[in-house]
Amino acid sequence: MNEKDIKQIQEQDTALRQAIARREGRRPEMPAGLNERVMQQAAGSRRRSYSWLSIAASIVAVCLIGYTLLINIHPSELQNPSIAQIDTLKDASVIAASTTTPTQQEEPQTNVTVVTQSSESPLVAQVTAKQEKKPNVPVQQTEAEDSLPVYMPTDEAEPTIQYASVAIETDTAYKAPGKMDEFIEKMASYGRAEAGEIECLHSSDTLSMSTIYVFEEKQDVEVFDRLLRMAIWYDNTTPGYFLSFSQKQFLFELHDSRRGLKYLWLAERLQHHPALLHPYSTRYNLQYLVLSGVPQ
C-alpha cells in the first residue's frame, strides 16, 4: 500500500472511523488533580536530586578544606615534587655559589622563601629569593632561630617580587657542621674525656683557640669508628667535604659557605700513648689556609 492508497482508505472507512470515535468518546476522562500529583512528584524528585548534589558538593568541599589545611600545616612533610625540585635547585645554587665565587662570604645565601598563591593553580609555588638578583638593595641582618643570618630587604619600595607572604623556613637540606661538635662533646661526656684548649696558627699569623679531648681507648668507646659514622652523615657533595681515615689518623673537613666558615676535625692515635686519642676541631674563615700541624 502506498501513501495515496492509505489516505484514500482513511477517508473512505467512515464506519470504522465512527466506531473508533464512539469508543474514544466512552473513554474515561483524565481525573482532576492528576497533573498536580505529577507536579508534586517532579518537585520531590528535584528535591532528591538537589539533596544528592548538596551532599556531593559538601564532600568535595570537606576534601578541599582538608587538603588545603594539610598543605598549610605540614608543607615540608609532603612529598610534593614541585617543592622537592625547588629544594634541589636551592642546593645547586649553593654549590655553584661556593665553588665559583668563594669570595662572596660577606653576602651569604639567604633562605628567605617567598610563598605565592597562584589564582590559576591551587598548588603553592615556592620560589627561593636569591641575593644575586638584588645587588643594590641595602639589607638588614637578623638572627633566625638556629642563629643563621637571614637577610631581609629593607627597601619596601623594592618591586622585584610580588608575594603574598614571606615565611622563613628551616632549611631541611642544610646539615649544620656544628652537629659534629655536638656529637664530639656528647661522646666526650660519655667517655669522661676532659676538654682542653689548643692554640691554632693561621696563615695570617693569627691564633685561634680550639678544643681538644683526650680519650682513653676502650672497647666500648671506639672513637675513630664513631667519628667516621658521624662524618658520613654529611652529604659528600657538601662544599669542601674532605674525609681521610686510617688506623692512625682521622681527618675531616667541611666548608660552610652559608656562614663562610671552614671546619676541620682531626683525631690522632698518639704513638707514645696508644691508649689516648685526641680529636681536635677548629674553624676558620674560608679564605684562610690552614697549616697542617699536629699539636703535641
Partner: protein, 226 residues
C-alpha cells in the same frame, strides 16, 4: 480532542433521535478543522516551551501537563484499560519526559508526538509486566491475504448503525498495540510517519500493519455475525 469527546457523547442522544448520519458528517468536519488549527498553534508555542522545560522551569512543566495531558492520557488509556493503572503510567510518562527533555529532537517529531511515543512505550511496558490474561485474535491462523479490498470497503464504508456497533465490538478483540495504532490513524489523524515514530517501527511496517488490522477486524466481524 475534548470537543470530540463531548461530541461523541452527544452522539448517543442524536442516534436515538434518528439524526445520526447528518451529525456524523458535521462531527468529522469539525474535528478535522479543529485538530489542524490546534496543531499549528501548538507548534508555535512548543519551541518556547521546550526551552523553558530544558531549564527545569516548573511553570513550563505545568504548562506541558495542561497542554498535552489529555492527549497523553488518552494514548495511555487505549492500551492500559484500568483507570488506576493508566494514572500510574501517566505520572511515569511525564516524569520521564521532564528528565529526558534534552534528548528531544525537534526535527524528528512534534512535542505531542514525542510524548505519545513515551506514552505508547511506557503503556506497553506496563501491560507486558502485568501479563493480562486476555486472549486476542491471532492473525497467524486466519487467511487474511485472501480477503479482497472491495469486501473490506463494503463493511467499513457502511455507516449503518448496526455495522458501526459491530465494528466497535470487534475492536475489543484486537491486541492493545493494534488498537492504539488504528486509533492513532483514524481518530488522531496521525500520519504514517508519526505513527512509525511513536511505535519505533518503519513506516512501511505500519502501513502493512494497518492493512492487516483492517482485514483482521473484518474477520472478527464475520465471526461475530455467525
Amino acid at each position: 480532542m475534548q470537543f470530540a469527546c463531548k461530541y461523541s457523547a452527544k452522539l448517543e442522544k442524536y442516534k436515538r433521535k434518528k439524526v445520526y448520519f447528518h451529525s456524523c458528517n458535521i462531527f468529522i468536519n469539525l474535528r478535522v478543522y479543529r485538530s489542524r488549527s490546534h496543531r499549528d498553534r501548538m507548534n508555535k508555542t512548543s519551541e518556547k516551551l521546550i526551552e523553558r522545560l530544558k531549564s527545569d522551569d516548573s511553570h513550563a512543566q505545568q504548562e506541558l501537563l495542561t497542554t498535552y495531558g489529555e492527549i497523553v492520557f488518552r494514548q495511555i488509556a487505549r492500551i492500559v484499560f484500568c483507570q488506576e493503572d493508566a494514572e500510574e503510567v501517566y505520572q511515569d510518562v511525564f516524569l520521564k519526559a521532564f528528565r529526558h527533555i534534552d534528548s528531544y529532537d525537534t526535527s524528528q517529531a512534534s512535542l505531542s508526538t514525542w510524548l505519545s511515543r513515551i506514552a505508547y512505550n511506557e503503556s506497553l511496558n506496563f501491560i507486558r509486566k502485568r501479563k493480562p490474561p486476555i486472549l486476542y485474535v491471532d492473525d497467524r491462523e486466519t487467511d487474511l491475504e485472501s480477503i479482497q479490498e472491495e469486501t473490506l470497503a463494503e463493511t467499513f464504508q457502511n455507516t449503518d448503525d448496526a455495522t458501526i456497533e459491530l465494528i466497535e465490538r470487534a475492536l475489543d478483540f484486537l491486541p492493545p498495540a493494534e488498537q492504539a495504532i488504528i486509533t492513532m490513524f483514524y481518530f488522531d489523524d496521525q500520519s504514517i510517519k508519526d505513527i512509525a515514530y511513536i511505535t519505533e517501527q518503519n513506516p512501511s511496517t505500519i502501513a502493512s500493519k494497518l492493512s492487516r488490522t483492517r482485514k483482521k477486524l473484518y474477520r472478527v466481524i464475520k465471526t461475530m455475525q455467525r
